[in-house]
Symmetry: C2
């Protein structure tokens, strides 16, 4: 007997047939004598519709009311799944975030979980009831509904898996697992059987929309065994596990790309100490995340060009902040949306030299110019002209020996 948390995303509960299909998967787990908690998202498209209504009725909307409206989508699927389970003979009951409760802070729209009540769920699991829980939501100290941000149901599931000491947290989605690269542009991409938390965290932050970044960080810190798999096939997925569990480590596990960044260059900035920090403090105050940064001195050393990337959606805001910052003297602001960030990820890099060198050589061979470079312990990212994205990803996939035979 195992204790399993299952999570089904919006496409897995898109309509009544999908919900019935989910009920059958859950039933299979209970037939194996497992204790099962199920988290559901809203039916595909529902949350988008609710967010649209909120934005249309009040462009500068109050986050507390935003949470009131958008949390309703999960409530519908939780109730419907409990009914589908009951209808197929499985004892089931549904709960909302406030009923568990998932206690969160008051950061409406992006709340963080403080504490989870497990008494009732534990009791119900021991009675043999499947516990269906509306994901993505919690309750603040002042008794208001909070939501955890888009993709938050992943975090709900992993958090409860940690609190319940679950044997596994299965995240069902519309892909079969984690791939060495996006199969839509790399036909030879392969599904990974296992991936480490660290690698998954990089993948999630780099925009591979498989798991919410926070859920991976939480799984890593609580050592929750997470599996990513498809609700539409019966194949095993990708296990996200501790590094120790992977005996034969690949040097590189995956290649990702992201086209939603934009490059900003502040030309001819006065090269005085602290100028970079002034720029980035201003942007941080404006809630703008800066990703890659490089600084080049001019030959005389008096001026410098400062280049960095921000999310494309924040570009206008960043420009406005910089233009109105009278204390930062510069000659011009050059921006470029037409860039892509290509990343090579692998925990094996730690013990293997030459990964960066072969990345740069591969790109040079294809005559792709590298604009910016940034690295972490297990990742190398480069910024290139967006039109070379697919070419670069495929070439690197081959270089690191990831192509399927």
């Amino acid at each position: 007997m195992a204790r399993i948390v299952m999570k089904f995303g919006g496409t897995s509960v898109a309509d009544l047939d999908c919900i019935r299909n989910v009920a059958q998967r859950v039933k299979k787990e209970t037939a194996n004598n497992n204790q099962v908690v199920v988290f559901v998202s809203a039916m595909a498209g529902t949350t988008d519709q609710l967010v649209k209504w909120v934005e249309q009725i009040s462009p500068l909307n109050d986050a507390r009311e935003y949470d009131m409206v958008v949390s309703s989508g999960e409530q519908i699927t939780a109730g419907l799944l409990a009914l589908a389970l009951q209808d197929s003979g499985v004892p089931a009951r549904s709960w909302l975030g406030w009923q568990i409760p998932f206690k969160t802070n008051k950061m409406h729209g992006a709340a963080r979980i403080d504490k989870i009540g497990t008494d009732e769920i534990t009791k119900r699991l021991e009675e043999g009831t499947v516990c269906v829980i509306a994901g993505f939501q919690g309750i603040s100290d002042d008794n208001r509904i909070t939501t955890l941000g888009r993709g938050g149901t992943d975090t709900s599931a992993v958090a409860l898996a940690a609190a319940l000491n679950a044997d596994r947290c299965d995240i069902y989605t519309d892909v079969e697992g984690v791939y060495t690269a996006d199969p839509r542009i790399v036909p030879k991409a392969q599904k990974l059987d296992k991936i480490t938390y660290e690698e998954m965290l990089e993948l999630a932050s780099l925009g591979a929309k498989i798991l919410q970044t926070r859920s991976v960080a939480m799984a890593m810190s609580h050592k929750v065994r997470v599996q990513v798999l498809s609700s539409f096939t019966n194949k095993p997925g990708t296990m996200v596990v501790d590094e120790d569990e992977i005996v034969e480590k690949q040097i590189v596990s995956g290649i990702t790309y992201a086209k939603d960044e934009a490059k900003v260059t502040l030309v001819g900035v006065h090269n005085t100490p602290g100028i970079a920090s002034e720029v980035f403090i201003l942007l941080a105050d404006g809630n703008i995340n800066v990703d890659m940064i490089i600084q080049n001195e001019t030959q005389d050393g008096k001026k410098t060009d400062l280049t960095f990337t921000v999310a494309e959606k924040d570009l206008g805001k960043a420009q406005n902040i910089l233009k109105s910052a009278t204390n930062i003297h510069h000659e011009a602001i050059i921006t470029d949306k037409n860039v892509a960030k290509i990343s090579v990820i692998g925990v094996g890099m730690r013990s293997h030299a030459g990964v960066a060198a072969s990345m740069f050589k591969t790109l040079a061979d294809k005559r792709i110019n590298i604009q910016v470079i940034s690295t972490s312990e297990i990742k190398i990212s480069v910024l290139i002209d967006a039109e070379y994205t697919e070419l670069a990803v495929r070439a690197l996939h081959t270089t690191y020996g990831l192509d399927a035979q």
Copy 2:
């Protein structure tokens, strides 16, 4: 300064434009320096959709999960209306049933309100905040969402109006008030300025879908001044008030009809004492409400025909119960769905004789056969062949002097 509870039904909040319109009406009340609580239903069609999903996914659905799913509709409109109010400069906040709380019993799907918390709402009203509350829902002792039954938002509104000692409870709907008869079949029907609680209660029970019956009973017992009016025009509606407030009472205030009943006749029942009670106890155990009843002895007094009406939707169930009741000897069961109940209502009847006589004469003049008669202190109902419905209602409307000039 007055304290006002406003309630808007599904057609009044059907889309974002309707919700903005509601916000403007609420704003007008606050501009008059009034304290305002607003109850909202789900957007028109939403509850029907949710109920359909529930019934499709689990025909014998668990009422606790039914309540989980269907209560989500009001949550959306409550949040959206709070946002619309904030957007037009009115301080507003939304609450769900469990947050107030509306404590109810555990009769899921048709819960009754036990107690309402008023501390937070009173505080917020005094601060000048408009309190928007999701109607139709509450919370049981075991922390589960309950719903009050279709039309339950009327009851939520009247109940809180009573608890808050509100000066008025305005029920906004898609008609301009209470009419002397259905204007769709009686072109000369007139809107009533005032109607008594007793009359309104009869109207609601007889199927005039203006107010939920329970809300009227509650208004009557707590003397809540209820107004029924349209959210699409700016005309005054119909005030539902105590009999003392109406100086010049009409003998008859309104004529109603209902086509959703069916007639059942048990032919040749053994005429032994207690046989009728046996029949009706069986039906009550099956949760079937019986409306009109007549019993005719045969000439020898040994057998009797027992005729009664039930809701058309319960007819099949009633037949099954009677067929399997081996202790009730009868020769045949005859049923007829093709009947209509026509009712004449008015508190003035108490002091005026001859109302029934003129009703029967009017129908006889039109050659309409009366199948069953039932009366209360302020109402006379007859069952007739359904195809005479419109003819009967118009003729009675003229007889009692209700036609508009």
